[in-house]
Amino acid sequence: MRLNVNGKEHELEGVDPNAPLLWVLRDGLGLVGAKFGCGISQCGACTVLVDGQPVRSCSYPVAAAVEAEVSTVEGLAGPDGELSAVQQAWVDLDVAQCGYCQAGQIMAAEALLRENPSPSDADIDRAMAPNLCRCGTYLRIREAIRTAAEKRTEGGQS
């Protein structure tokens, strides 16, 4: 089974095609940014992008991702390690408390901004509703998305 993650092809052996993408990423590829929170598509901690769309990787069979491009939080930074506008806004606005939900939040925000470069607050709320933050950092997440949106528009980032 071949899996393309963050632009890199991986050859996977002996993987159960029904195994959730989350556990293949974490245990198989050592990409631990996506987190396990509920296992039933309720919290969004495991959010990654499959062909640009946010999916709950805890409930997404790896077999369904085989022909697709998977992106995780580890792949967001540029070639020299510079943070994406979204990542940088998260750092600068000091969004995280425990931080456990944030990789999933960041991936959901990336997906939103790629689709809708200047989202309204209602757009942000709608796009981010699947992602729980137990620590309650929603206000800062909203603010960080607004900040990142501005920076992306200025910088002409797609």
Partner: protein, 746 residues
């Protein structure tokens, strides 16, 4: 204090009280003068250590030790306590950096190893980290600064009094000399250690770093998805384990489908464990060990266990509700507080009110389910654990495996939320017990379902209140009969009035009574234990009394606080009525208290004092015909003394408001036949972004000793919202979660 933790069979009773007291107790034993000791390091460098319990490692120490280290390469500060989202990995080193006069940009922060001898207690609990470590960390920074100044004085041939420090440099104004700490470290290490008691410490107006907004030291690693958390740890050759316990606490394994499970793909082994009789350590269950998390989880779904439930919990929430309903009009079994003459006051009151409040059990639901990596070899065990109480975890694991504590090593990891759940180390004990049976390191992974059925729950409870008003509309008497729970006669954690509980000392005729119903399932400290529910009860009822008196709520609250004074003289953790009035006034002013509101919209005010923090909140809500509450804004005013990290402090209060709102809205754990009826987030609907209100945070910049902010912002939220709902609708909510009364947030 130690006994309370280490005695086998000890339940969660008063763990939060013990955690509160723990750091203070052991630091108090050591004079401020004695606890810092200079340690020479191989390769030069200046190192300060907490040496309360044994001498620090002397020359030749190759590993970081103590609170700071300076060498020619740079400045490293060590963050001693577990990071659970409360921000201490950033805020505690900031305190050191302030007195050291190090530029924050020059500093690298490293998480300390778990080492009681070097660091003293390392705990995340009771909102204590800043309060308890304040003097210790300031002195650590100031001591190093004095030695750097001493070294510079020798080098420049000038008296130390002529030298100043700033931004990681010693400065000599007259000559313009400027020496970097990194150049001075070697020489400073040879300077005599100043007497800690004589070191000048800054006054708050001299702070350059404290009080600023500083971003978290792990922020960049977090957004890159680096392996910071317990669940991210892995070791070469590691196996993956899951552990199934009886859904009713205390059930034992009679048999299970062993051969079927063993034959499943990826499964290496399956076996049952007996449990050690301590529900805070190891309960009986079946372990599955596999070559991936997924293989273990998939096998767990096929696991069929025949449980012997003859000694298991049979707790039932609906039975408790019925029993409490029968008992509430009777006298309580214990009088915890009995001040003045309550019966006379109630009888003489110009008005008398009665109300019955209920709140459900709740789960911690920290987003990272319990997990732990353990490696057992040669009669010793090493664990990587997201725990709030690593030292206690060592004791728990030692007791579980029958090892000396010296044979247990714990590495702290970042925790994906704590909220009190990780004060308890059952998951560490399970990981250790499984690892002891497996010839490889093991990562134990709980599912969300495991987490929700085997939490240490925030206990539910019932309060029958009676209150009276005198002819002037003043609160003249108050009685609360609290119907709570006890396990074999011991009140469950968070299930009893604690001494000095608000409003003790503020209402002359006050009686607090308790009656306990039997309960077996583990309960535990949940963010602002007891306060998080009692705040709702008492602050709602005081609003009921103010309303009955036809008086302004703010005015009645200020009248209850009275003259500015400490309650409980000599106790720095006691309520100060002037500080209380100050935050109540500030919140009211910032929220525009008293302004006219359109129909269906209202403001609600509440105050609570917990963990040495004085916090008032005003909620601005509207309520529609479907009982849907829109919370527009919550205005928070807090007095916790000087603020260490303003960004972190604001984040804690924003989070407390959202956590409070989430929990009051619809979070409930119910039990039948000893089983939790909710198993995952679909049945435990936490608040999501669209329902998050605006939160405005204000601090009273007092110079009382600083205290923590992880907890005290939560208790005032529910009563502020319920009081606002009353103002908007005339309906008094007396049940949490409010979904029980047909209300929702959104």
């Amino acid at each position: 204090m130690k006994r309370a933790f280490d005695t086998a069979g000890d339940l969660a009773v008063d763990v939060e009280a013990a955690v509160d007291g723990m750091e203070i107790a052991s630091i108090a034993k050591i004079g401020r003068r004695d606890f810092l000791k200079l340690t020479g390091l191989v390769g030069g460098g200046l190192m300060l250590s907490f040496t309360g319990l044994r001498a620090a490692a002397t020359g030749g120490a190759l590993h970081p030790n103590g609170f700071l280290r300076i060498d020619s390469e740079g400045i490293t500060l060590y963050a001693k306590n577990p990071e659970i989202g409360q921000g201490v990995k950033t805020s505690l080193p900031m305190i050191v950096a302030e007195e050291l006069d190090a530029a924050w940009e020059d500093v690298a922060v490293v998480q300390s190893p778990i080492d009681a001898a070097t660091y003293g207690p390392q705990v995340a609990g009771g909102s204590n980290s800043v309060r308890v470590n304040w003097d210790l960390l300031r002195t650590a920074g100031a001591t190093a600064r004095a030695m750097l100044v001493g070294a510079a004085a020798v080098r420049l041939g000038v008296p130390p009094a002529e030298l100043a420090t700033r931004d990681s440099h010693v400065l000599h104004e007259r000559t313009g000399a400027r020496l970097a700490y990194t150049e001075l470290a070697d020489a400073a290490a040879a300077m005599p250690v100043p007497d800690a008691g004589t070191l000048p410490l800054k006054s708050p107006d001299q702070f350059r770093l404290l009080g600023r907004r500083i971003t978290g030291v792990d922020n960049e690693a977090l957004v890159r998805g680096e392996p910071l958390f317990g669940i991210d740890q892995s070791l070469p050759g590691m196996k993956y384990a899951v552990y199934q316990k009886c859904p009713a606490q205390g059930g034992r394994v009679r048999s299970f489908n062993e051969s079927e499970i063993k034959a499943l793909p990826g499964v290496q082994d399956v076996f049952s464990l007996e449990g050690n009789g301590n529900p805070l350590e190891l309960m009986p269950g079946v372990a599955i060990v596999a070559d991936s998390t997924w293989a273990a989880l998939a096998a767990k779904r096929q696991l069929r266990v025949d449980w012997d439930e003859s000694t298991a919990a049979r707790d039932s929430w609906s039975d408790a509700v019925a029993q409490a309903g029968r008992l509430r009009h009777e006298a309580g079994a214990n009088r915890v507080v009995d001040a003045g003459d309550v019966d006379a006051a109630l009888a003489a009151g110009a008005q008398r009110l009665e109300s019955y409040y209920t709140y459900h059990f709740a789960s911690h639901a920290q987003l990272e389910p319990q997990n732990c990596v353990a490696r057992f070899a040669n009669g010793a065990v090493e664990l990587w654990a997201p725990t709030q109480t690593p030292h206690r975890g060592i004791g728990n694991v030692a007791s579980t495996l029958g090892l000396a504590p010296e044979r247990v090593t714990v590495h702290q990891t970042r925790c994906g939320g704590g909220f009190g759940r990780r004060l308890y180390n059952d998951f560490m004990c399970e990981a250790a017990a499984i690892a002891a049976r497996v010839d490889a390191p093991v990562k134990l992974q709980w599912t969300r379902e495991d987490d929700m059925s085997h939490d240490l729950f925030r206990a539910g409870g019932f309060h029958q209140l009676e209150g009276s008003l005198d002819g002037e509309g003043r609160v003249s008497g108050l009685r609360d009969h609290f119907i709570t729970f006890a396990d074999q006669g011991r009140p469950v954690s968070g299930g009893s009035f604690r001494p000095g509980v608000f409003p003790t000392g503020l209402i002359d005729n006050l009686r607090l009574e308790e009656t306990a119903l039997d309960w077996r399932t583990r309960c535990g400290a949940w963010r602002a234990p007891f306060s998080n529910v009692f705040g709702f009860v008492i602050e709602s009822f005081i609003h009921e009394l103010a309303t009955a008196a036809g008086r302004d709520h703010l005015e009645v609250m200020l009248e209850i606080f009275g003259e500015p004074r400490w309650l409980g003289t000599g106790n720095p953790r006691a309520l100060h009525t002037g500080r209380a009035a100050g935050v109540v006034r500030l919140a009211a002013e910032k929220a525009g208290w008293g302004r006219p509101m359109p129909p269906g919209r209202g403001l609600g005010l509440a105050f609570y004092f917990s963990h040495a923090g004085h916090v008032a909140e005003v909620a601005d809500v509207s309520v529609d015909a479907e009982k849907r509450i829109k919370v527009h804004r919550v205005t928070v005013a807090a007095d916790v003394g000087p603020i260490v990290n303003l960004s972190g402090a604001e984040n804690q209060l924003e989070g407390s408001v959202i956590d409070g709102l989430s929990t009051m809205a619809g979070l409930s754990v119910t039990f039948e036949n000893g089983r939790v009826e909710q198993s995952n987030f679909d049945a435990y609907p936490m608040l999501r972004m669209p329902d998050a209100p605006q939160v405005d945070v204000h601090f009273v910049a007092s110079d009382f000793p600083p205290s923590g902010l992880g907890e005290p912002g939560l208790p005032p939220l529910a009563p502020a919202v319920c009081n606002a709902v009353f103002a908007a609708t005339g309906h008094r909510i007396r049940t949490l979660p409010i979904s029980e009364e047909g209300f929702s947030i959104g």
